[in-house]
Symmetry: C2
Subunit: 342 residues, 2 copies
DNA sequence: AGGACCGTGTCAACCGGTTGCCAAACTGTG
DNA sequence: CACAGTTTGGCAACCGGTTGACACGGTCCT
């Protein structure tokens, strides 16, 4: 009765816009709802009807309109990822991990940046919320209340932060820190500086606390320096504090800061590792070709992204979070550590 | 007559799902279409009606449902970005540029990776096409026919590739290459190797051709080596070829390859820059802390991303591509070049 | 006073799918 | 052969917006 405007008189005629299920329905002599069932409700129809419709569908190059599907179902097949800083190399492998898993499961990745601002992060999350099935927050600066509020609206997954009742992943920092301190102890270091990241960073606090604990067990002392920006510049700016602390070795919140410190040392005539040992965190791109190559504590960022996407999508689809994979850090010995002088 | 299921008896009652224009309409005593007009058709309604509706809307926290809007309008307020490799640092600033501009204009960024495969790239583009208002292809491996086919369906923008009739941007490589060759000529280099990127890369060919031309003008000769993977590994693998060529200086297709070459030199006992001068391309993150720091030809990647997003969105909204900003490369002198021996 | 015109808000159709419910057809059984 | 049970496919409502057409009331003009 009501012929959709897309239709043309001749069934072979070129439709105006993209092909819809209405076109497929007309061409295969069934109703639109039957087409819908044939395509995403396998088994509901008789085998030959389903087969026939499928054949027509890809003969005419039918492609489902995701918006049209999203409207009645409320499911967009999209995951959102919010980072504080897109250009921070620490996220590259993570983003790739998320994208690969998402694409593999038929999901699309939406990426946004919060520019290290809690307000902007919240605003961005709100803006994205309507378009995604679930949201991954990486190293979020939001407080627990905001996080919970978001989690009430859509499945949420937090990376590098623990929030009671919210699924998330934070790689175990203990093994990496233990191995790093064992290594430093073996070389004779006793007093170690920790170059802290931003004051709002949960992960920086975790690393600091774990360092304190682990150092205590080994009779070593930790002096905390900072907080500082988690960037090259933040690391460069910290050299003076490090020198003042009298520590013979430094552990930085992340590789960016460690690399910045390395640079400041070179500029300031401090020889690394002879005069100062430096250890980074994460093992980002570039850490192996600094000079000297940076000794660091590796975080398996690719796997973290994988895990985040996998479990978020499980939550979206099955309402339960998927199996947890334990993820651990690992000490990577390169050239920026040596026994202290004297 | 037909009360939407969202409604509750009391107007103060909590709606089940998110607030819709139907809720706002009921609460402010007008029809849904009036609400729609009040919100995105300023001036069409009387000033107080509009104001009243706006107040109700944000009093109840109304948020537009992007899917619902996309259906009748065909506009998703989304731009897609397809990269060959998410973890390649060359793209970080570009991605950020695109994201910032997109977010600033109320658009959402969808990111996907083609893993250096033309087939996967095409498939990905098809998959995304229905969800985006426009697509940005970076260093695409697609052939011109595929690109044109995509451009027929949605606004398309290509970065680092010129395709007749398709809007795009490719930073002018001439100034950077001229300055680099002038520098090498001044130091006494005559025979220079070009470490080519993937054979499918339009940009690698452009850089190679421009190099040939520019070298010719200066009485220098170029030996092309490759093609090779545009990665650290590709650069490492090329050392033998470089030595065999007898060139005293190398220009690599990109910084990743240059850095790989640097590493191979260190491992192979070739001193840079004393025995071999190395110049990269792009000035990616990390190029300034290799050892020696890499001399390179900078591409303004952040601006490229900016330009791409700006002009794509202009095409989407006004049907015309926006104003073009000329973008040029620039020679950055660091420590990996020196006069040849003898 | 009558008519043209303008400003304002509503009606209803539409975008392209999904899905609960029902009817027709088909199957098997006593 | 009648009847219950099971397939199979269609109808129509719905998701949440947008927008062309129109009705209504008030102004202004002749």
């Amino acid at each position: 009765m009501t012929e959709r405007q897309n239709g043309t008189g001749t069934s072979a005629g070129r439709a105006r816009g993209p092909v819809t299920i209405y076109d497929v329905a007309r061409l295969s002599g069934v109703s639109p709802s039957t087409v819908s069932r044939a395509l995403n409700n396998p088994g509901r129809l008789s085998a030959d009807t389903e087969k026939r419709i499928r054949e027509v569908a890809d003969a005419v190059g039918y492609r489902l309109n995701p918006m049209a599907r999203a409207l009645p179902t409320g499911r967009t097949h999209t995951v959102g990822l919010i980072l504080s800083d897109i250009t921070n190399p620490v996220y590259f492998d993570l983003v790739r991990g998320v994208e690969r898993v998402a694409a593999g499961r038929g999901y699309i990745l939406i990426l946004a940046e919060s520019q290290e601002s809690a307000d902007l992060e919240n605003e961005t999350a709100q803006r994205l919320l309507a378009s995604v099935d679930g949201l991954i927050l990486v190293a979020t600066r939001l407080d627990n209340a905001d996080i919970r509020a978001l989690a009430e609206r859509k499945p949420l997954f937090v990376v590098n932060r623990k929030v009671r009742g919210i699924p998330g992943v934070v790689p175990d920092v203990v093994p990496g820190i233990r191995a790093a301190l064992d290594h430093l102890a073996e070389q004779g270091h006793r007093s170690i500086a920790y170059l802290a990241g931003p004051s709002g960073s949960w992960m920086s606090r975790l690393r600091g606390r774990t360092l304190d604990l682990t150092a205590g067990e080994r009779g070593m002392t930790i002096v905390e320096i900072g907080p500082g920006e988690p960037t090259l510049h933040g690391g460069q700016a910290a050299l003076q504090g490090v020198r003042d602390s009298g520590a013979t070795a430094v552990l930085a919140y992340n590789d960016l800061m460690a690399t910045g410190l390395l640079k400041a040392c070179r500029d300031g005539g401090v020889r690394v590792p002879e005069e100062l040992s430096v250890i980074g965190f994460d093992d980002i791109f570039g850490s192996d070709f600094t000079s000297p190559p940076l000794t660091t504590i590796r975080t398996p960022l690719g796997l973290v992204g994988d895990e985040a996407a996998r479990r978020l999508i499980a939550a979206v689809e099955k309402g339960e979070e998927g199996r947890r994979t334990p993820l651990a850090t690992e000490f990577v010995l390169r050239g920026s550590t040596a026994p202290p002088r004297g």
